[in-house]
């Protein structure tokens, strides 16, 4: 799985740390880190939760061309 740089950029745009995003999404920091590094494929529920927190759509963060 490739790295999710869009997620990293969106998080940086909101000036959020991995820990802050993890806390808001109700998961651990290692999970957010693994998603950004492309090591973990999150469920649709977690994807939606992250999108809501960062104010993005699923396409913005998780769609690959």
């Amino acid at each position: 799985m490739p790295k999710n740089l869009k997620l990293k950029a969106a998080r940086a745009e909101k000036d959020m740390t991995q820990s802050a995003l993890a806390e808001a999404a109700g998961v651990s920091r290692q999970t957010i880190n693994a998603i950004e590094k492309g090591e973990y494929n999150p469920t649709i529920n977690l994807c939606r939760s992250i999108c809501k927190i960062l104010g993005k759509t699923l396409d913005d963060l998780f769609w690959e061309e």
């Binding site: 109700g26 998961v27 999970t31 973990y40």
Partner: protein, 148 residues
């Protein structure tokens, strides 16, 4: 701070949960193989059955539970195809293992062949029955009556 020994709510997130499940699965197969090996070694050494009956009961309980749950959910195996050929291979493997273990324990390969063949036949019948039951259950789950 309130002391809590057990929390009903799952404290793991989804990735940790998946990691925990794979650790538990590996642990289960490690225990399964270890128990089987311990039982077979004790049979080869002709240890009185009263000394390994406990292991055997635990081993069989685990096997029966796993088999029933797999059948109930219409599951077979991740990698092995459900067909008669693979069942023949499985039954032949069981036949060889039992023949070798009994042969080593009692020193007579001809006598060991009898329980070996019986095990192979029983194993084949059981595998065929389970395979058909799993296929039937999968079809039921794929076509629920209350849908559409």
């Amino acid at each position: 701070m309130k002391f809590s020994l057990y929390n009903k709510k799952n404290q793991l997130d989804e990735m940790q949960e998946q990691t925990m499940l794979s650790i538990e699965a590996r642990g289960f197969w490690l225990l399964w193989a270890g128990l089987l090996l311990a039982i077979l070694v004790q049979i080869v050494l002709r240890t009185p059955s009263s000394q390994w009956v406990g292991e055997f009961v635990v081993f069989m309980a685990g096997c029966i539970y796993t088999m029933i749950e797999c059948l109930r959910n219409g599951l077979w195996d991740r990698h092995i195809c459900a067909n008669t050929t693979t069942n023949v291979v499985g039954a032949l493997s069981a036949c060889v293992v039992v023949t070798v273990v009994i042969g080593l324990a009692y020193g007579s390969w001809l006598i060991a062949l009898i329980p070996g063949v019986i095990t192979g036949v029983l194993c084949f019948v059981l595998l065929q029955v389970c395979m058909h039951a799993a296929e039937k259950r999968r079809k039921e789950l794929d076509n629920p009556k209350d849908e559409e």
